[in-house]
Symmetry: C2
Subunit: 210 residues, 2 copies
DNA sequence: AGTGCTGGATAGGAGCACTATCCTATCCTA
DNA sequence: TAGGATAGGATAGTGCTCCTATCCAGCACT
């Protein structure tokens, strides 16, 4: 398959494909000659994945690169690879640098309380959680002291279900694809359902109120 | 309070404050003279809110404008105002235009199944949900037929809890602020917890696997 | 009296994700 | 075997968003 066919069958322009190859998101085609390369189904599949991640999840190109690199590193275990994926997909926000021992402690407490004993003590996500907690505390959002207790079992159920869906009879690349799609697309699915539920519950309380 | 004090007490530069005023995100100060205006606590509060939404939620400036406009429209009920907020905050993604009756039907089924009877039949969120469902179906993500049944009660519990937290003894602007912060910051909180839970569950299944 | 800060206007700039152009070598159909 | 189409590679440019910088005339404090 030549580059123009790859472009046609994915709906991605030739210029963009070249750009992705330059950025290392897509391997160059197998060279047939100096001026001709061959692309296969793997390229189609990868390109479709990249487009979903960008269109649905607005994942930055740099994060896509990190995902590709994590997939390529065959010395890491599947779990380590998934950890890299989580780190790469966290980039959506810019929480101002938090060096606050108190909120970090609260974050660790939450992870303990949830029973997530397998989370690395140095996982970057813990600091991110601390940053979000700081914002929640500072922003005057009404939060009851038992708030976390409400969320944790629900989130644990969701994440457990999603992980259970992953088909582990496939190769690492296919598993990574499932994991990343799950993170991004099902994350979006979740937030979308939550907004719908907000609308419903908001109507129950506030429909008649001016 | 003059503009430089407003800048100092919020950490936002004078130039940026001027930009926000131009864009209608912040009302101009009360004019004391031709070349001097007075800013008050409302401006500080609003500015802090705007920064949280941008820093944590990466909410685009245009969406912030829509939120401000919705708050200002005093003819709408609180529930309608919240609806506007949901619409404005959905902009994160660009699902290619879906004109697919099948997925739209699936989306409506999900809303029914969840019992969210108060969601407007013409809510834009329904089409967004349809788009996400289409992506899920097309992307080869493994999904069991009962998937929605797993998510719905969990999401409903989360959204119900969040709405219950809103303090309705305050004025519309304060309630809007709580709603929007809840959507954005608690949404981020939720996704962050979910990633941590993914790491834990992934370790249970894949720690030793190469 | 003079330094400095104000609101207002407008121009400039950084970053991101492409997109367009140019070039020469090869392909491939005729 | 001629010759337009297409390939890959390099590089520059575009459109968008979100600021940031500069300029200006004039009121304000000391």
């Amino acid at each position: 398959m030549r580059i123009s066919e790859l472009a046609d069958s994915t709906g991605v322009s030739v210029a963009t494909i070249k750009y992705y190859v330059r950025e290392g998101l897509l391997s160059p085609g197998r060279k047939l000659s100096e001026r001709l390369a061959d692309y296969d189904d793997q390229h189609v599949r990868r390109l479709r994945l990249l487009r979903v991640l960008r269109d649905v999840g607005a994942v930055p190109v740099g994060a896509l690169k990190a995902l590709v690199d994590a997939t390529q590193d065959r010395s890491a275990s599947v779990h380590d690879m998934f950890g890299e994926a989580c780190d790469a997909l966290r980039t959506e926000t810019t929480i101002p640098g938090v060096r606050d021992d108190h909120t970090r402690h609260l974050a660790d407490q939450i992870v303990d309380q949830a029973g997530w004993t397998n989370v690395r003590p140095d996982a970057p996500e813990r600091n991110h959680l601390a940053g979000i907690i700081k914002v929640i505390l500072d922003s005057g959002l009404p939060t009851d002291p038992e708030g976390a207790a409400t969320y944790l079992p629900l989130v644990d159920a969701i994440a457990g279900y999603e992980l259970a869906q992953i088909d582990d009879t496939q190769d690492r690349e296919a598993m990574m694809e499932q994991m990343v799609l799950g993170q991004v697309v099902l994350g979006e699915f979740l937030l979308c359902l939550r907004r719908l539920a907000h609308e419903h519950h908001s109507a129950l309380r506030f429909a008649e109120r001016s």
